[in-house]
């Protein structure tokens, strides 16, 4: 059955004419056909899937790199196919641009037809209206076609009166709604594209007591649209005075976050409280609190008892209980030193997985470290992640676990002190000029959809043949453009308004 249909369709599709203009016309007609639009819609849906299952650069470069390290054989192929940046890839763009063209090709001719329909009268009634739905023939005593026409006009029908008959049409707002919806989808896509071109977004990690100034160099990660002018970034700075976090302690949902609050001072004068759902705004740029974590403070003395490192390091949380990992690099020592560490706010030993954090708050903080010596690989000029230690040219010197205040005296005579734990908060700074346009587009689309889906285009014909003697007769029937609408309802309503019939509550409950 299926095969037959598709074979039939294939033979029905006309072949492209041989001249170039004809070919263009043929291509245009194919592209703007409903069949193509449907296929493109389904194709967009299909193309969006890989981006939800593979890590994406736009969300987290770190996760992309992790995935590539774990699947080295696929990494290059996937990268070439832009599978780590699906929504910015050429093939995803190609599909939605085709869909947009198809949409434009669909909207413009319909816009023309719709415009013309306002200047045209509804067509005259068909000759044999008894063949149409809801047909009725009713004997009347005291009504006239004029009266019926007036009544229909009152209820918003557009009327074409021709002698003894009339055509009444209604539901023009359906097509208007459809057109508004489809035009808004184009508008929304343009707003998205413009937004992407003129926007910027960056993330920054700020430790308690530290600050951030809105300049490019201060960002951990910064992305701007191609047309964004870096010089137009607003000037501001803030200090993170205090970060408060609370977790659920009862057995029920234990460890779930209950409160995040960042207490900041903006530009050295305004004290603000930033919450997760409450960003603050500086000249159109919004600053959001997006995450937090721990920053253990470590001091390292070399064999000569010189302090070669003293700082707090941001550790990246790996799970809900804030098992966090971090790296310390000391490139100025010879040979170079590196530490790979995990920090557990509430350390416990799991018989299967070893040390693991069982609660996100600082109940039993411990720092697990592996000390490496050798070549960090930082001198090769390749940008390195501060969260990753390349140990291929290094040798392990030892491992140790420390509680705050403890010191690890290594066999080589070095001292590594775990001084304490600080907190950090991560902020997202975003300037998105297209968002208001996008909201307008989405609202219009919504509005158009209500009319386009809710209103039905339909017509009613009324004939009132001249009768010499005896009671007059009207014939009435109608037609709805979409088959899900029952024209009988409209006919009943009209007849009821004219006082010709009375409608009781219907007992018909079948679908």
């Amino acid at each position: 059955m299926k095969k037959q249909i598709s074979a039939k369709q294939r033979t029905e599709t006309p072949l492209p004419p041989l001249d170039f203009a004809g070919f263009l016309r043929w291509t245009w007609r194919q592209l703007t056909s409903m069949n193509t639009a449907l296929l493109l819609l389904l194709l967009v849906a299909l193309a969006a899937i890989p981006g939800s299952l593979l890590p994406q650069r736009t969300a987290s470069i770190l996760k992309v790199n992790n995935w590539k390290n774990e699947n080295p054989s696929l990494a290059q192929i996937f990268d070439n196919l832009s599978l780590f940046d699906v929504y910015g890839s050429f093939w995803f763009s190609a599909i939605y641009i085709l869909l947009m063209i198809s949409l434009i090709g669909c909207v413009i001719p319909r816009l023309k037809v719709y415009w013309q329909s306002f200047n045209e009268q509804p067509q005259s009634p068909p000759i044999k209206i008894e063949r149409f739905e809801g047909y009725r023939k009713i004997q009347l005593t005291n009504t006239s076609l004029n009266k019926i026409e007036a009544e229909l006009k009152n209820s918003g029908w557009r009327i074409n009166r021709e002698g003894n008959g009339l055509t009444a049409e209604k539901g023009y707002a359906r097509e208007a709604g459809n057109l508004v919806f489809h035009a808004s989808m184009i508008f929304l896509t343009i707003a998205l594209a413009l937004g992407a071109l003129f926007s910027y977004r960056g993330t920054v990690i700020v430790k308690e007591g530290n600050g951030f100034a809105n300049t490019l160099t201060q960002y951990d990660d910064f992305r701007a649209g191609k047309l964004f002018n870096i010089e137009s970034m607003p000037n501001f700075f803030f200090t993170l005075n205090d970060f408060v976090v609370e977790f659920e302690r009862s057995i029920n949902q234990t460890g779930s976050p209950r409160k995040f609050e960042a207490d900041i001072t903006l530009n050295g004068k305004d004290d603000l409280m930033v919450l997760v759902n409450k960003p603050f705004n500086v000249a159109g740029t919004k600053i959001y609190l997006t995450g937090h974590g721990y920053a253990p403070r470590v001091e390292i003395l070399n064999q000569k008892q010189e302090i070669v490192y003293s700082d707090s390091i941001t550790f990246l949380p790996q799970d809900g209980n804030f098992t966090s990992t971090g790296v310390i690099k000391i490139p100025d020592e010879k040979p170079q030193l590196g530490i790979k560490a995990s920090f557990l706010p509430t350390a416990n030993i799991d018989p299967m997985n070893g040390p693991i954090s069982t609660f996100p708050a600082l109940d039993n903080p411990q720092l697990f470290m592996t000390l490496w010596q050798g070549d960090l690989g930082v001198n090769e000029g390749i940008a390195q992640s501060i969260y990753r230690l390349d140990t291929t040219k290094m040798t392990e010197l030892g491992i140790e676990e420390l509680k705050p205040g403890e010191t690890w005296k290594t066999e080589q005579g070095m001292e590594i002190k775990f001084l304490g734990v600080e907190q950090f908060a991560s902020f997202q700074v975003a300037y998105e000029p297209g968002r208001f346009l996008a909201l307008i587009g989405a609202t219009l689309a919504m509005l158009g959809m209500f009319f386009g889906l809710g209103i039905q285009r339909r017509k009613i014909w009324v004939l009132m043949p001249k009768v010499q003697n005896g009671p007059s007769v009207i014939e009435i029937a109608g037609l709805a453009k979409s088959d899900s609408h029952d024209i009988n309802k409209d006919i009943d309503k009209v007849l009821q308004k004219l006082g010709i019939i009375k409608i009781e509550k219907k007992g018909n409950r079948s679908i």
Binding site: S52, R201, E248, N277, K286, I511
Partner: protein
């Protein structure tokens, strides 16, 4: 008994009654007489199930002092309630007891998973969910999920009817038309859910659209149902193919709810699942 455990008890009752209702609805299906006594009892029982679930949700809201939409358990129970009420509201105007079994089976599966796999004790919200958008965004998603489930059941029935099965049911054309009307209702609400989600994302995460896995699947769902609406007016797609498109749409919803929520981490991953 605490409000919370009373809420749980009501959910268990609802599961038990639904299981019993499967039997009743299957009897209605096999009988040719339309307004049979059994179908009346089955419908009355469905009202009871709906009431139990609604009260269970209210109790849960009272216990936690917030909208009962903070975790997957609550979301699953709320979705089951929405499915039941979507069915019940249609049943006021139309006799659709023949659809009952196809509604009650997904409800049992959903409630069963909620109770066994997804169960979370009632508690306060994680900070990321503390927003007035929670109620607006999540409830619109739940209402449209309820209606889409009915559309899914109808699409399956349509395919069975076209193959000549279940002859006592309405004709394929009528089922198709009904199924379409359900999407006419659900699609704008789903659109609203996506838009309100974007507005909330803008105020919480600093961007209105970021291709987070959950967002991506909401988009995929939206696109597929948009395709369904178009397929119904396209020659060669109307009927069987359109029904398949809507089944894919529902598959996307189920995938989004279970696979993405549980196995894929994104910004929509919250503690307590």
């Amino acid at each position: 008994m605490s409000t919370n455990s009373l809420s749980n008890l009501l959910v268990y009752f609802a599961i038990f009654l639904s299981a019993f209702n499967i039997i009743l609805f299957s009897i209605t299906l096999s009988q040719s007489k339309k307004q049979s006594r059994v179908s009346n009892i089955a419908m009355a029982l469905t009202w009871l199930i709906g009431t139990f679930l609604a009260v269970a949700l209210i109790l849960r809201a009272v216990a936690a002092q917030r909208a009962p939409m903070g975790n997957m358990y609550e979301f699953a129970v709320a979705s089951a309630t929405a499915i039941i009420f979507a069915f019940l509201f249609i049943s006021i105007k139309k006799d659709i007891s023949w659809l009952g079994i196809f509604i009650i089976v997904p409800v049992i599966i959903l409630l069963g998973l909620a109770v066994i796999v997804l169960y979370t004790e009632s508690g306060p919200l994680v900070p990321a969910l503390k927003s007035s958008w929670l109620l607006i965004h999540v409830s619109s998603a739940i209402i449209s999920y309820g209606a889409f489930t009915i559309n899914f059941a109808l699409s399956i029935l349509y395919l069975l009817r076209v193959k000549g099965k279940l002859k006592s049911l309405p004709s394929p054309d009528r089922i198709d038309e009904f199924s379409y009307k359900v999407v006419l209702f659900a699609f704008p609400i789903w659109t609203f859910a996506v838009i309100s989600g974007a507005i909330w994302a803008e105020s919480a995460w600093g961007r209105y659209w970021g291709w987070d896995p959950k967002e991506t699947w909401a988009f995929i769902t939206w696109i597929i149902y948009a395709a369904y609406l178009h397929s119904r007016v396209t020659v060669g797609w109307k009927g069987t193919k359109a029904a398949w498109v809507s089944i894919f749409g529902y598959a996307a919803i189920v995938f989004n709810f279970f696979v993405i929520n549980i196995w894929v981490t994104g910004l929509h991953s919250y503690a307590g699942v």
